[in-house]
């Protein structure tokens, strides 16, 4: 077959990379040294960004796409996929990330939104997108816009997994509701969810999202990873939880081991032993800025 009969950027190819990341850990890194630590520990991908979410939260101001030079240095440092974040609705940042050859774009609420109405039209891109969601309606709207991977939003940078758990449980409960609904009820349920009917019907039929569902936001210990994986997440994003912990190398290894062996509490106990302090964390009810409320 000649290259003329080959096509790039199809949904199968874009969703396929998400399939390859399942059962893995995607780690936030801010420089090539951290990226190497992540790869050495068995990360399936790294998220290249200038500041981890807990620092973005602390520093305030407008958080934007990272400097291309920093992304390129990380691309040069590792052989695993490199992801990077664009602001919600900022399709020009996404175009730049695609031109840099990043492997996945995260249209992320961790950065300051650039458009208060519209998310990026992700069908227009060859590079695949991951988007956050707090519930099923939001997940299906992102998929309708072309997202090939959904993650819970959680509450990034807090080290508190409570919001990620809420989002996963909500998405799962709403999918179960669709499965038990009569076909004639799906029209009203689609209206309530604010999601395209075809996607609502698909979830009612299959019982799962049309794309993989990963977890992000507040995962700080192996036990947190085990919890969200047992709640149905297929892989985990760990942001501040690794490089804001006392011993990042051990924490990275421990969360990777857990993600493979989360069904085996003896393994999770072993890797959790003597890990040192997890990141300090924050109570989410006292936060001034809730990142999960960005995006709609």
């Amino acid at each position: 077959m000649s290259p003329e009969t080959s096509s790039t950027g199809s949904q199968l190819v874009k969703r396929g990379l998400a399939d390859m990341l399942r059962g893995g850990v995607i780690m936030d890194v801010v420089n090539p040294e951290q990226a190497k630590i992540a790869e050495d520990a068995g990360a399936v991908a790294v998220m290249a960004l200038e500041r981890v979410p807990s620092d973005i939260r602390r520093d305030g101001g407008v958080a934007r796409m990272s400097d291309p030079q920093m992304i390129q240095q990380i691309q040069a440092a590792v052989t695993i996929p490199v992801m990077a974040k664009a602001r919600i609705g900022h399709f020009a940042e996404a175009q730049i990330l695609e031109a840099l050859g990043v492997d996945y774009v995260d249209e992320s609420e961790v950065l300051t939104p650039a458009d208060e109405e519209n998310h990026i039209d992700k069908w227009a891109f060859t590079v695949p997108f991951v988007c956050g969601a707090t519930n099923l309606g939001e997940a299906l709207r992102r998929i309708a816009e072309g997202a090939c991977l959904i993650r819970s939003k959680g509450e990034a940078g807090t080290g508190n997994v409570v919001e990620a758990v809420r989002h996963l449980r909500t998405i799962n409960a709403q999918m179960r509701r669709l499965q038990s609904a009569d076909a004639s009820e799906l029209y009203a349920l689609a209206k309530d969810l604010g999601s395209p009917l075809a996607l609502v019907q698909e979830v009612a039929e299959t019982g799962h999202l049309p794309v993989p569902l990963f977890c992000a936001g507040g995962i700080s210990t192996p036990a947190d990873a085990s919890l969200v994986l047992q709640l149905g997440a297929e892989a985990v994003f760990v942001g501040s939880g690794i490089f804001k912990s006392e011993d990042p190398v051990r924490m990275a290894h421990a969360i990777v081991e857990t993600t493979t062996h989360y069904r085996d509490p003896a393994v999770v106990a072993k890797v959790s032993t003597g890990l040192g302090a997890a990141m300090r964390g924050a109570e989410t009810s006292t936060l001034e800025q809730r990142l999960a409320e960005r995006g709609w």
Binding site: M1, S2, P3, T5, S6, S7, T8, G9, S10, L12, V13, G16, L17, D19, M20, L21, R22, G23, G24, E39, D40, A41, G42, A43, V44, A45, T79, I80, P81, E98, G101, V102, D103, Y104, T126, V127, P128, H253, V256, E257, T259, T260, H261
Partner: protein
């Protein structure tokens, strides 16, 4: 007949679903004892560096190596092909592989994700099958005992994408992502109960 799927990381579920569709019992392999009484093993797609790391930490690396040397039939897709190769180019400095197949491969040999592609392939004995290549390895060279079952020309001449050497099989593409069971069927039909 029981066929194992190496379930450390990657698209394990799709391989299991493909085996189910063929009426073959699929078993997850995460620890050495899981390798017992398997007719064959599938090494899935995923990140080869992560899977290699987890082979080490799970205690599977050496045990699986012994089973492969003593003839456990195996089929590796994408990352699985890298792990079965004899030489890996553009990998990590400490990249290792099982040398079960006399091939040299280049990691991400077709480029980054934006260059990932799908096409159609002509497979010996099967006809046309869909080929999905995701950050796929590229076969650079292969030995005289390697049988080439399908090739793909990406504009610079045909390159093997489905190969077999005795009971070891590997593809650079992902037959498990397409719902087409025929490539897995070829592997499964070569197996005998043990």
């Amino acid at each position: 007949m029981r066929v194992g799927v190496l379930a450390l990381q990657g698209d394990v579920a799709e391989h299991r679903a493909t085996l189910d569709a063929l009426g073959v019992e699929a078993v997850d392999v995460r620890r050495p004892a899981d390798l017992d009484s398997l007719a064959g093993l599938i090494m899935p797609g995923g990140e080869s560096t992560a899977i290699a790391h987890l082979l080490g930490t799970s205690g599977l690396r050496s045990v699986l190596g012994e089973r492969l040397e003593t003839g456990l039939p195996v089929f590796g897709t994408c990352a699985g092909m890298i792990l079965l190769a004899s030489e890996v180019v553009d990998g990590r400095a400490d990249q290792w592989c099982y040398s079960r197949l006399d091939i040299a491969v280049r990691r991400n040999g077709y480029g980054r994700q934006v260059a990932s592609f799908e096409t159609t392939l002509e497979v010996s004995g099967l006809g046309t099958v869909p080929g999905v290549f995701i950050r796929a390895p590229r076969v650079l060279s292969w030995g005289p005992h390697v049988e080439v079952l399908a090739s793909h020309d990406h504009g610079d001449g045909p390159v093997p994408v489905l190969v077999r050497q005795g009971s070891a099989w590997a593809s650079a593409f992902h037959p498990e992502l397409t719902g087409d069971t025929r490539v897995h069927g070829l592997f499964v039909s070569s197996l005998t109960d043990r």
